[in-house]
């Protein structure tokens, strides 16, 4: 049983428009049997936070290409992408690099 997690999520480069224009979010993930990984976090964001147009943020069960993801200021490609197991107080940043956000 994994303990509940507190995360700091940040959206930028236009991605914030899909979240009511708010850039910084402090979220609490409930405790669950398996540890939280990025894949579950993205599903959770889609279910609980995305206000509109999920296709502009997600593609399948990952983020849309063109959105840069940094976990604790490091490229998520270095951290195992969807398999990365989130730790309490992690800082996850999503920056859209697409034209017009």
């Amino acid at each position: 049983m994994a303990a509940p997690l507190g995360l700091h999520l940040e959206f930028g480069g236009g991605a914030e428009l899909l979240f009511d224009g708010v850039k910084n979010h402090h979220v609490a993930l409930p405790g669950q049997s398996d540890p939280w990984d990025m894949k579950q976090l993205l599903a959770w964001i889609r279910g609980n936070m995305l206000k509109e147009r999920p296709e502009l943020f997600m593609q399948g069960d990952t983020v849309r290409p063109g959105i840069l993801v940094l976990i604790n200021d490091a490229d998520w490609e270095l951290m195992g992408e969807l398999e990365y197991q989130l730790q309490d107080q992690d800082n996850v940043v999503f920056i859209s690099t697409l034209h017009g956000g």
């Binding site: 236009g14 290409p65 490091a74 690099t97």
Partner: protein, 502 residues
């Protein structure tokens, strides 16, 4: 500068075949720091090496191309986005260096507020402008904040291409640098107080706001809107640059952006202008050169740099914001390339390398090319003076034939279409139509057809998409009228002119 190339080529050779994602990868450059960002397939850089690499690349780009001379006034086109704001930060960085490595040009900043074309409210626009102002003021550079509505007060001279005076006194970069160093020793105290010349032109009458709205609503597709916005923005930047004596304009287009531009421009029929649309330097305006110093950076590098090193930027929604992938040709191309890039990480760089190899074939008579041979809107050399057996003429003929049935003037128009001269067919065709009936009054409303003859293939398509060309800003229609009259007059006096020797 060759050292740079060697450096990075060396790195590329060391690429591992299969990137293994591990949590504790080391930087490929210093082999010590913990990797923070993957730049190319398996090149992971640590924070400090990434910063060094990013800064170096900007200087290398300017050093390699040697187009910006010491003491030259350079206008930085900043949109508020990550790419142009990181360009601004690199310029600030370069100017703050110690003597030998210092960049020596005089920067100014321009922001074109296109909110009026994108349907943003006055308050939203004001908020963005205020945010940008605080960034710009902080730099100490003179800046211009120009609302797009200003296109309605542009003079038509903007569209007249100026050939750069072949000044024999400033031929080489090296010469200019030497001269600068000499002069600088003489007059060290002659530092221009750049910040003293702040000027903001952020007012416009409400009728211009309405005119801009009707201009953009008369364009039917997002593709044409984006194209028109780009054209008008270029004209405004050019005008401000000329008015204030800037001889270079820096655009912050990244290589990801340019890859999209390259492919979408081909789709839009701008193949003939690709080299100047996407190359490092764009000489089309003659006296004001456009340079793209960010064209070596991917949008990922830029976004990561801005985030890691706190480069201030302002997100400003544009025409493409929150539109689906298929909303426009440009948007679709972007989606295509970014999706491909996710699977095949060398997509963007491959397209980008291709764009580097493109060159414009100069038409033989380019030395004395007249204004009429340039496109009215994009100011590129007209690509419509081509051989009769070309895709362009095939399209034109089929368009004319399809219009004949509609207007039911089959015989005249058909004859006109058939007897076209290889080079000036379209021009003559319209002239026989509108002037054959004696209609040469000066206050005519310009028709689609009149404009078309002055445009390149791609701009014709954009104009074709317009409901009414009457919504175009006055400087465009005035210049179109001037060129039309000029070509008419030339035709009238042609029989009295001596033929060119060849």
């Amino acid at each position: 500068m060759c050292q740079v190339e060697e450096d990075y080529n060396g790195l590329e050779c060391k690429q591992e075949k299969i990137p293994v994602p591990t949590l504790d990868r080391k930087c490929v450059k210093c082999k010590e720091g913990t990797a923070a960002l993957i730049i190319r397939v398996s090149d992971a850089f640590c924070r400090s090496c990434f910063k060094e690499y990013f800064i170096h690349k900007f200087r290398a780009m300017l050093g390699k191309n040697r187009v910006i001379f010491p003491q030259e006034k350079v206008l930085l086109a900043v949109s508020g986005g990550a790419a142009s704001c990181s360009m601004l930060s690199q310029v600030i960085e370069g100017l703050s260096r110690d003597a030998p490595k210092k960049l020596r040009f005089l920067p100014g900043i321009i922001y074109i507020d296109d909110g009026g074309a994108c349907g943003r409210s006055q308050e939203e626009r004001q908020r963005s402008v205020d945010q940008l102002k605080s960034i710009f003021t902080h730099t100490g550079f003179p800046y211009f904040i120009v609302p797009l509505e200003q296109v309605f007060v542009l003079p038509s001279s903007v569209l007249v291409p100026v050939t750069p005076d072949p000044d024999p006194s400033s031929p080489s970069y090296k010469h200019a640098v030497d001269q600068y160093i000499r002069e600088h020793k003489l007059a060290e105290e002659d530092e221009p107080s750049a910040a003293a010349r702040l000027r903001v032109e952020d007012s416009y009458p409400p009728e211009h706001k309405l005119a801009l709205e009707s201009l953009f609503s008369s364009l039917n597709t997002l593709t044409a809107k984006e194209d028109m916005l780009h054209t008008l923005r270029q004209h405004l930047i050019l005008h401000v640059a000329r008015e204030n004596g800037f001889s270079k304009v820096m655009m912050g287009e990244s290589c990801s952006r340019l890859a999209v531009k390259l492919l979408s421009n081909i789709a839009l029929g701008r193949g003939a202008a690709l080299a100047s649309d996407t190359g490092f330097s764009d000489p089309r305006f003659g006296d004001v050169g456009i340079v793209r110093p960010m064209r070596d950076y991917s949008s990922k590098e830029i976004a990561a740099y801005c985030r890691m090193f706190d480069v201030p930027s302002v997100f400003i929604p544009g025409l493409e914001t929150r539109t689906p992938d298929k909303a426009s040709v440009q948007r679709l191309t972007e989606a295509f390339i970014t999706n491909l890039q996710a699977e095949f990480p060398s997509t963007v760089s491959t397209i980008y390398r291709t764009s580097e190899k493109l060159h414009t074939v100069k038409p033989s008579e380019s030395e004395h090319s007249e204004p009429a041979s340039r496109c009215l809107l994009c100011v590129c050399a007209l690509d419509t003076c081509v051989d009769k057996a070309s895709a362009f003429h095939a399209t034109l003929l089929s368009e004319q034939l399809s219009q004949i049935k509609l207007q039911d003037v089959s015989h005249d128009a058909l004859r006109c279409a058939e007897t076209q001269d290889a080079s000036h067919d379209a021009l003559r065709c319209t002239e026989t139509q509108c002037c054959g009936t004696g209609g040469c009054s000066s206050n005519r409303v310009p028709a689609h057809q009149d404009l078309k003859t002055l445009l390149c293939y791609s701009c014709r398509l954009t104009i074709k998409d317009m409901g009414s060309v009457a919504t175009l800003p006055a400087y465009i229609t005035a210049e179109a009228e001037r060129r039309r009259k000029r070509s008419l007059m030339k035709k009238e006096i042609s029989e009295y002119l001596l033929e060119d020797a060849d």
